[in-house]
């Protein structure tokens, strides 16, 4: 496998930001009640992550190491505000969908984690691929959790009713517990369990 494709596929499984690096859990709990916001959130995070990675990578040799975290934060906040403003002007509906979560991208630990661990020491194009890869890894987990929670919590997927009315008439009820944040944590936990059990590289000795 070439180095570049490894940068993309690595974070999807072996080095997944949520299940292996355990970053970005906070937003994984918050936006996964429905599939739609989860997808839009994933796209926004991927976009910001890729470009923040590129910018930091371009600046990596000039950044004074004592203030590098603040510089990273400024770049992330800058990109997030630009995304927010552009969405408000050209995609007003999407911007309303995401509401506070666009701003919350700033606090997503995946961003700082990748900038610190990768972009500071690698070339711009590699950093770009790393950003896309980690965004994709984040997106996959978010969407799996969101599908599960929306299906069991609201009986629908992407706002379309999946569970027919006749089920409800027969006494079936949506599971309110699935809508609450702890269930997202449990689902993420189960995904980690399955992934670790099936992937040899992730099984720890002792």
């Amino acid at each position: 496998m070439s180095k570049n494709s490894k940068l993309i596929t690595g974070p999807i499984n072996l080095n997944n930001p949520i299940t292996v690096q355990v970053l970005g859990i906070c937003s994984a709990l918050a936006v996964t009640v429905k599939v739609e916001p989860a997808v839009v959130m994933s796209i926004s995070v991927t976009f910001v992550l890729a470009f923040a990675n590129v910018l930091i990578s371009l600046m990596r040799n000039t950044i004074p190491s004592r203030i590098r975290i603040i510089v990273q934060l400024v770049i992330i906040a800058f990109l997030v505000i630009v995304v927010d403003q552009v969405l408000k002007a050209f995609a007003y509906d999407v911007s309303k969908q995401l509401s506070v979560f666009v701003g919350l991208i700033i606090t997503n630990c995946i961003l700082m984690g990748r900038l610190e661990a990768f972009a500071l020491g690698n070339k711009p194009f590699d950093s770009f691929l790393d950003g896309i890869g980690n965004g994709a890894g984040y997106a996959i987990i978010l969407i799996i959790v969101a599908v599960f929670r929306e299906f069991f919590g609201s009986g629908s997927i992407w706002n379309f009713k999946i569970i027919p009315q006749s089920f409800y008439d027969a006494g079936f009820m949506d599971n309110g517990f699935v809508i609450l944040p702890p269930m997202a944590l449990i689902v993420v936990g189960i995904i980690i369990w399955i992934q670790r059990a099936r992937t040899k590289e992730l099984i720890e000795e002792n």
Binding site: I63, I75, L98, S99
Partner: protein, 265 residues
């Protein structure tokens, strides 16, 4: 070059911040007209939606000028005052309304001397409050649209409730919010939540009873036996549901009381 010297660090930080600030200011200023237009069009769409007219972004302005015949401001005594309702700053009025509510609560526990002070304050605030009303004529019928403003869990919530000519039956309602939790509180903006408002009444005899949001999942209002004034609340969005209920009952809509009673049939 030594990238760790103090001078370099200071210069680096200053220049970075200035560049970023300049780009952001430029973006914000260039995009502002577009954003303002979006907000204006959305307001028109929401007003129209509360009387059952679905307007797209393109035809909202046209449909608005065709259907909304009157756009006025009333005061808390129910008299029409100067100005256009569309231009009223709802954020500011919402704050005044919340102050009025706070004083009303204080009045319950106040002694005689305090009451006098509070009452002057209350009269002053009430005289300042601007309440917009839109009058819509559609297919030979007249509807009265009342904007709403209240508090959700994370920030403001607002909406439009349209009443039929009897000033009692709700013809339609739309709600929106700044930043309620997607999938939970944010559901107030969905039609499954606002549709059941249609046909509910806000008066029981001459008493303003408002609308109650009932907890307990699907058909909670039905189970509570409150079909005339009750709707289903949102599971997992309790504080938003309660905020919306309060918005109609005591934060905002009740200020229209005199105006509605004057016209009620």
């Amino acid at each position: 070059m030594n990238t760790n010297s103090n001078l370099y660090t200071f210069l680096y930080a200053s220049i970075l911040v200035i560049i970023v600030a300049a780009i952001l200011a430029f973006t914000a200023v260039t995009l502002q007209p577009l954003q303002k237009k979006n907000i204006r069009v959305e307001k028109m769409q929401n007003i129209l939606k509360s009387v059952g007219i679905d307007a797209t972004v393109e035809n909202a302005e046209e449909l608005y000028s065709k259907n909304i015949k009157q756009d006025m401001i009333v005061n808390t005594s129910g008299e029409k005052t100067e100005g256009k309702g569309f231009d009223v700053n709802m954020k500011k009025e919402g704050k005044t309304a919340l102050k009025i509510k706070a004083i009303n609560i204080k009045l319950l526990k106040a002694n005689k001397a305090e009451k006098k002070v509070l009452n002057t304050e209350l009269t002053d605030l009430k005289s300042k409050l601007k309440l917009p009303v839109y009058v819509c004529e559609k297919e030979g019928k007249t509807f009265y649209i009342f904007p709403q403003r209240g508090k959700g869990l994370w920030g403001p919530i607002w909406g439009y409730i349209s009443l039929e000519e009897d000033f009692n039956t709700i013809n339609g309602a739309v709600f929106d919010h700044k930043g309620e939790t997607p999938g939970l509180g944010a559901e107030i903006a969905q039609s499954w939540f606002s549709d059941p408002f249609k046909g509910k009444t806000i008066f029981e005899g001459d008493e303003f009873v408002s609308i109650t949001a009932h907890k307990g999942g699907k058909d909670a209002a039905k189970l509570a036996g409150d079909l005339k004034h009750g709707v289903d609340a949102i599971s997992g969005g309790t504080i938003t549901s309660k905020g919306l209920e309060a918005m109609i009952k005591e934060d905002w809509f009740f200020n229209y009381g005199s105006y509605i009673k004057k016209n009620k049939k």
